[in-house]
Symmetry: C2
Subunit: 159 residues, 2 copies
């Protein structure tokens, strides 16, 4: 039994988990753009300058991927069954992110309820907020995840 | 003037754009997992087999990234101002995706309206549906994007 494991009972609404920082590496940014989002404003300075963004910016999907990495490196990685996403809503990119920016995240427990269809599990609603080095919100979303219920005989207090 | 450019007027509700296929490369899958979602069930066969998924599966964010790549390689890449996402809702992962799977996508124009706050632009709602080689839906989402209005004097018919 991992004493650090998190269960449904541990994720009380109002609890906040902070994660990061992580720096947007320019090489990783161009690799991501080439593989997954090869639009000119993600690849070339001049095309970025001429775009609606006014500068080279990273793919919004890479901002989401970096936020996932911070989640996976946070205390929330201790969720006993892993970070298993059910649904994402209200994913918004509020500010462009540039190579070299330094991102950090907050994960807030918004609400939770036990599952009827999947006994032993519950659904927890997390709000993700990703900020840059100036404290500006660059991305936010709401994420429903599966979380195992500790129940009887499984928790550290019974071990 | 690019004759292939797409404007708000071209994206009529009901229009469907098909894209792909793209194969989930095992090396790319492990690189993505190491950089952005290093959970054991994305990295190791044995951990995948022991997980809720029952096998090694790729990160859901990589499925989204591959879908973005198919979008960027589709006819929709002709949107005059680029593919600029405003918001994502109802992003769901319906089936696990494994290295070696072959993905394809459909992008449906659901609705559109001209912007009041940003003259010369409109908001178009796209539904993305990503399928595997067995025709099973693996991911879906709804995506609001900015699209420039052709207006007078800008379209090919005026050029």
């Amino acid at each position: 039994m991992d004493l650090m494991a998190l269960y449904f009972e541990d994720l009380k609404p109002g609890r906040v988990f902070k994660a990061g920082p992580i720096t947007v590496d320019p090489t990783q940014a161009s690799e991501f753009a080439r593989q997954y989002d090869p639009q000119p404003f993600h690849l070339k300075e001049a095309a970025g300058a001429a775009s609606v963004f006014g500068s080279l910016v990273i793919s919004g999907w890479q901002t989401a991927a970096y936020s996932m990495r911070m989640l996976a490196d946070s205390e929330l990685a201790g969720i006993a069954n892993g970070l298993v996403g059910l649904q994402i809503d209200k994913l918004m990119w509020h500010q462009p992110v540039q190579p070299g920016d330094v991102l950090s995240t907050e994960f807030d427990v918004m609400s939770r309820k036990q599952s009827r269809s999947k006994p032993g599990f519950g659904v927890v609603q997390l709000a993700w907020r990703t900020f840059n080095q100036r404290g500006e919100l660059v991305m936010s979303l709401e994420n429903a995840i599966w979380v195992a219920v500790r129940g009887e005989g499984q928790g550290p207090s019974h071990g």
